[in-house]
């Protein structure tokens, strides 16, 4: 059998994005009450560039005392300014932040890539524009809240404590901050300890945008800092995006209090490919579903459910497509798959790949070069997976796809729903009636039809079951930050 040759007859030269215009501080502290502060007794931890394994900055870990200062600042700003600020006035600030993010788009994208390992192509074309779009979107809602929920009186909740993950640091900050500001709340937000740098740049933007001091406060740190926010008596609402295990812990801690809570947790999304699907576009959707951001996506399409009669065709096409993916320096504009976010995460992914092989699934990786330094991993797929395999059940959060088959739409629905998660699914078929029927039967917050991993500020996002509750984005995304009466 002849096959296509994806060789190096006409190789692309490296096209590295310049970094010389980026000015990072050696040390970062917190942004509290409109000022950047580093408490004297601070302990520091490094933020590491996963592509080079080099530390790029030292970041202070906030103690309970520091968190308390941030919450007090937020409370004061809430009572003194923010809840009295006219909605149209709030909109101006949010709009200004969005514009300034666009002006600094290049810098934000480069730092996002250096800090997190994602390809510059994605941070430049997805993360930063989408983050700015969220601010633009919610700037528009600020003075229209009474029309968003006709008949209801709306008022802000107060001080929101927000904890965001390392996979989309800037975008998640935007998802959390924009609706909270639009609805009149003040904020204490904690970026992830491995990727705090773009949040610090966002804090600079917020300072330059001249928001009243204390309206948005950033505190850095790991789990202990997060716990201090969650348990602080003067926080009215917690919004958390991250792992299901931590989400459960938070929910337990908040039980019995009157703090509001929204959780956006893990997922094990199914991409369902029917035999009448546009196959080439479906293959592209599979690649985008699982290899986008190295698979560090809570709604990643990490389970491929493919109709039995086209299994071989789809897998052949998928393997061929995988062999054209370029793994390497995330700052190279031609890189498709960058570095795994941290050594810890790389080890966890490799442990699960080992489990997949032990349990008898067939592993496939393309024959591609991977840099020796840095936390890199080839894109990986497993065939011959059954629903009882660990790799079919557990969230891997890496570029690892598990392939299962089905024969009828009902079987596809049953298998797709056979998970304790419920965040996102994809359906691929040329038949609209089938698409809508299956979509209605899937227990997940998002169902994409003939596409995958599409986000828009106007479209709500959130989970079923252990993927959490509450919605972010769109009109729905206002609700967790409002009291309706």
């Amino acid at each position: 059998m002849k096959d296509l040759l994806f060789g190096d007859m006409w190789g692309y030269d490296p096209a590295p994005q310049g970094t010389d215009f980026v000015e990072l501080d050696e040390r970062y502290g917190h942004f509290i009450d409109g000022e950047f502060v580093i408490p004297e007794e601070s302990e520091f931890f490094p933020s590491i560039n996963p592509a080079t394994e080099e530390p790029i900055a030292q970041v202070a870990a906030a103690t309970e005392e520091t968190v308390d200062k941030a919450v007090q600042a937020a409370r004061k700003a809430y009572e003194k300014y923010w809840k009295k600020t006219k909605p149209a006035e709030r909109a101006k600030y949010i709009y200004r932040i969005a514009r300034m993010m666009q002006e600094k788009a290049r810098e934000l994208a480069v730092v996002e890539t250096m800090d997190g390992g994602k390809p510059i192509r994605e941070s430049r074309d997805v993360d930063v524009p989408l983050a700015a779009a969220h601010f633009f979107h919610y700037a528009g809602w600020a003075d229209k809240l009474e029309y968003a929920f006709p008949g209801a009186q709306v008022s802000p909740i107060g001080v929101a404590g927000q904890i965001i993950p390392w996979n989309f640091p800037l975008l998640m900050a935007a998802w959390k901050i924009a609706p909270a500001l639009a609805t009149g709340n003040t904020i204490v937000i904690k970026p992830a300890e491995t990727t705090p740098l773009t949040a610090m740049l966002l804090a600079e933007i917020i300072q330059e945008a001249d928001l009243p001091p204390g309206v948005v406060n950033f505190v850095n740190g790991a789990g202990a800092t997060g716990a201090a926010i969650v348990n602080h008596d003067d926080v009215d609402k917690i919004a958390f995006t991250g792992s299901t295990a931590v989400g459960k812990l938070i929910q337990r801690q908040l039980a019995g209090t009157d703090k509001r809570l929204t959780l956006e947790l893990g997922g094990k999304g199914a991409n369902i490919i029917f035999d009448d699907a546009p196959i080439d576009q479906a293959v592209e959707g599979i690649v985008n579903g699982i290899f986008f951001n190295q698979g560090h996506v809570c709604c990643a399409g990490s389970r491929l459910l493919v109709q039995e009669n086209i299994h071989d065709e789809v897998i052949d096409k998928l393997k061929r497509r995988m062999s054209t993916l370029r793994v390497g320096d995330p700052l190279d504009k031609n890189t498709d798959i960058g570095a795994i976010n941290s050594l810890e995460q790389l080890n966890r992914i490799q442990e699960l790949i080992g489990a997949g092989m032990e349990e008898g699934a067939q592993m496939h990786q393309p024959d591609c070069d991977v840099p020796e330094t840095g936390y890199f991993l080839q894109p990986t797929i497993f065939t011959d997976v059954t629903p009882s395999h660990r790799i079919a059940q557990e969230e891997i959060f890496g570029p690892v796809l598990s392939v299962l088959t089905f024969r009828t739409p009902d079987e596809a629905i049953e298998k797709a729903n056979n998970t304790f998660y419920g965040l996102a699914n994809g359906i691929w078929t040329d038949k609209g009636s089938k698409l809508f029927r299956v979509a209605g039967a899937l227990k997940s917050g998002v169902v994409w039809g003939n596409t995958y991993n599409k986000f828009d500020p106007a479209s709500p996002f959130g989970g079923y079951k252990e993927s959490g509750f509450g919605r972010e984005g769109g009109r729905h995304g206002l609700m967790p930050y409002l009291k309706l009466s």
Partner: protein, 299 residues
């Protein structure tokens, strides 16, 4: 009429998905040595074309000389072919003898093809007899849109036969087929009928070649190759005017069909003004600056 040919079953195309995938090739950054190699490769793939009612022997001679020696100052390869109307083929034959440059002619009553099959076959034979070794034919879009797929297949088979040893490029005129599903089906029919190349457009209808349309055709070629082991060539034509766009097309070929198609045996650009922009960009790589277009000969 063929009584055995069945309308082929082709996979559906999702418009949003194919356009998004084609758009991805635009983000490939091609620089330095890769850029130089790509520009030179693109020159070897050009079918230098003049297809105007006002063509004269003088114009065709000028074009042939440009094809042999694209630049006075740069050491570049020659183009793949010169493409002219059948009446101009003898002039091209005279000018290109011994150069290895192919002579392509648009036969079958290009660009509409709206005449009797006998007439279109005669047009083809005439061009071949005059010395054309590549024939660019237009398909019967009227028949295709009326659902007469077997007729379209039969007509291509007949033209292929009339071509003799000349290579046949089948122009689908994708701008008139309108949907990607139609493009996919027409590509398959042309391949089944024995096309050596499939080609997007005449250049007389807008939109002419686009990246998504070309990608649909490349995927048809790929699937046919994987099924049968036979290679078919691809020629986007019309609207590819600058080097940047040409390099994007090459990236698309490289990542869809692989290295084997990165040659003028299997990939061509139907263009007239592309060549000068390729030369301009090569000059820029050599000297570090752009020079005025007055230093380039017109084509």
């Amino acid at each position: 009429m063929s009584d055995t040919y069945q309308t082929p079953r082709v996979p559906p195309i999702d418009q949003v998905g194919i356009e998004e995938r084609a758009g991805r090739f635009k983000t490939r950054s091609i620089k330095k040595a890769a850029k130089k190699a790509g520009l030179n490769l693109a020159i070897t793939m050009v079918d230098l074309t003049t297809l105007a009612g006002m063509d004269t022997p003088g114009k065709v001679r000028m074009l042939c000389r440009k094809a042999r020696l694209p630049s006075q100052t740069l050491d570049t390869p020659k183009v793949a072919a010169v493409c002219v109307y059948p009446s101009m083929v003898p002039i091209a034959v005279e000018e290109l003898e011994g150069t290895g440059i192919n002579i392509a002619s648009v036969a079958t009553y290009f660009p509409s093809g709206q005449s009797s099959l006998e007439g279109r076959l005669a047009d083809t034979r005439e061009a071949v007899e005059a010395g054309a070794n590549e024939i660019d034919m237009v398909i019967n879009r009227g028949a295709f849109l009326a659902g007469e797929y077997v007729r379209v297949f039969d007509e291509i088979c007949a033209v292929r036969e009339a071509c003799g040893d000349a290579h046949l490029k089948v122009i689908l005129e994708t701008g008139e087929l309108e949907t990607y599903d139609n493009v996919r089906l027409a590509s398959q029919i042309a391949i089944d009928a024995g096309a050596h190349f499939i080609k997007t457009s005449t250049g007389k209808v807008k939109p002419a070649a686009t990246m998504p349309v070309t990608l649909v055709m490349l995927q048809t070629i790929r699937d046919h190759f994987l099924k049968t082991g036979e290679m078919v060539g691809m020629k986007p034509a019309g609207g590819i005017r600058d080097a940047k766009l040409a390099l994007r097309y090459l990236a698309m070929v490289k990542e869809t069909l692989g290295d084997a198609w990165l040659s003028n045996e299997w990939f061509r650009f139907g263009a007239s003004s592309l060549l000068n922009d390729l030369l301009m960009q090569l000059e820029k790589l050599e000297s570090g600056r752009y020079h005025s277009s007055r230093y380039l000969s017109i084509s």
